[in-house]
Point group: C2
Chain length 138, copies 2
């Protein structure tokens, strides 16, 4: 997989991807580090961050939650949804009645009590779509 993208296959990349692929709990960079530091004596946390970031930029791995991992606040507490620009991180509200009618997938996770949901659309905002390539992310 690394080869396909022209990346050197290092033991760190292999171990980190194997660890991440083996779990479904969406670990943080630190959790990955904790999990592999025994198998890979001497790995640095820096490498974990760098490798994960590399994977993300090649689409091998996905980042859950907002790209910048900063807290964002919203005074509108009614059910509504969001559209996030993959390029610049802009977040816009999406109000759509149809999207508020989803039935909760109660059958899926036994024991989990559902309270609410929110849909996050990803894509490219007008500005980034027209100015593609001219502006860096963030």
């Amino acid at each position: 997989m690394c080869r396909e993208h022209g990346l050197a296959l290092t033991i760190q990349r292999r171990t980190i991807l194997e660890e991440l692929a083996a779990r479904t709990d969406h670990p943080t960079a630190d959790q990955i580090y904790e999990a592999i530091k025994d198998l890979l004596k001497g790995v640095s946390k820096t490498t974990v961050y760098r490798v994960l970031e590399t994977f993300v930029s090649f689409g091998i791995v996905r980042k859950v939650s907002n790209p910048e991992a900063k807290a964002r606040f919203d005074a509108d507490t009614s059910r509504h949804h969001h559209a996030t620009c993959l390029h610049c991180g802009l977040v816009m509200d999406v109000h759509d009645q149809d999207l508020n009618k989803l039935k909760f997938p109660v059958h899926i996770v036994n024991g989990f009590e559902f309270v609410d949901y929110s849909i996050n659309f990803t894509g490219l905002c007008t500005h980034c779509r027209t100015a593609r390539g001219n502006v860096g992310p963030r």
Copy 2:
């Protein structure tokens, strides 16, 4: 609104909430600070964080994105959804074919090019539901 919750009505709380309510771009704490520091000479960033956190805990304001503001990674890049426990922050995968059939709300945002979407369900996991009150968040 502050009164309703037994909170003192301070000029800081009023200004911060007014600023947040006036915009729909889901600002970060820092963006709020930048926006109000001129109207409110001498306000500290600490206060912005504290006031926002207070509002969140009273349900007046919502936090967009993950509660801990840490980056989380996922090796599964196919379309799937997540359920987040409001109490302990646990994130679980939700695989459900029906949820993958949403039609994009193309009409909503002119110019926005939709690529994909992901639904985030919030609620309480089995553990926190049974142990409610015994364990603190995180």
